[in-house]
Amino acid sequence: MTGVRDRIHAHLRTHPGVHVSAVVRELDLARGQVQHHLDALVGEDAVVVERFRGRTHYYPRGYDGRARRRIAVLRRETARDILVTLVERGPTRPGAVAETLSIARSTLEYHLEALAAADLVAKRRDDAGRVTLVVTAPESALELVAATDPRVTDRVLDRFTRLVDAVLEG
């Protein structure tokens, strides 16, 4: 019983921000069992729950709100692509980022909003009011990208929205 709970806790430490379904899949446990142990771990204050944009994420204690938000954002392929592009190219205009990644403006803007809310990317305006995108902390940003891994469902959803945005905006 506690062995299972320890396994779940250990999994959360190596995969902060996972969803219940991912724990169920990765550890090959029953959903009810995982939920029961997660609830117990939350009760013991060993694990923190956070709902971000309609999805429930579980984190080991010690991840503050900003770190949790960052990991949730970086589960999205396109947000990762945008961040990595900005690290590689340095401060870049939004139009150039959209062009480099072949994504629609609405896709870019949607992910920028999330990246800015997580304090990963900032918008700078020059005197003429033109926007340049900058990564707030390039090195730690790359570490976070390496530490997070989008699930298959995250990838499918991300690519679908990318496609729809591209088709609709033509």
Binding site: E109, R130, L157, F160, D165
Partner: protein, 110 residues
């Protein structure tokens, strides 16, 4: 030929039902993704895309029902299927229209 014309006494389902069931299963999957995308984005265009995929699913379901359960006359189900086509096209056009009318209000600059 029973397999192709959907003979009522055949033990095998007519080919059209098999194809329509395959289409319905695939479309149901796409509908799930479209719904998840709408929940994430909360934009009117995404809701219209959900409607368009649902119309596509409706079309397959009508075919399954008409041939599989012989519930509709041949003319009747064709009318309903093409009716779904009209709805689908209208929803896609509306989704494109709203995507265009929303885009300039967004903040990204050239």
């Amino acid at each position: 030929m029973v397999l192709l014309d959907g003979g009522a006494t055949g033990t095998l389902p007519p080919l059209v039902v098999v194809v329509a069931v395959l289409a319905a299963v695939g479309t149901a999957g796409v509908l799930g993704v479209a719904l998840a995308a709408y929940v994430r984005r909360r934009e009117r265009s995404y809701l219209l895309v959900v409607g368009a995929v649902a119309a596509l699913l409706g079309r397959s379901l009508v075919t399954v029902y008409a041939y599989g359960f012989a519930g509709l006359s041949s003319g009747g189900h064709h009318l309903i299927e093409h009716g779904f086509d009209v709805v689908l096209v209208a929803l896609v056009i509306a989704a494109v229209y709203y995507a265009r009318s929303v885009a300039p209000a967004r903040e990204v600059e050239p």
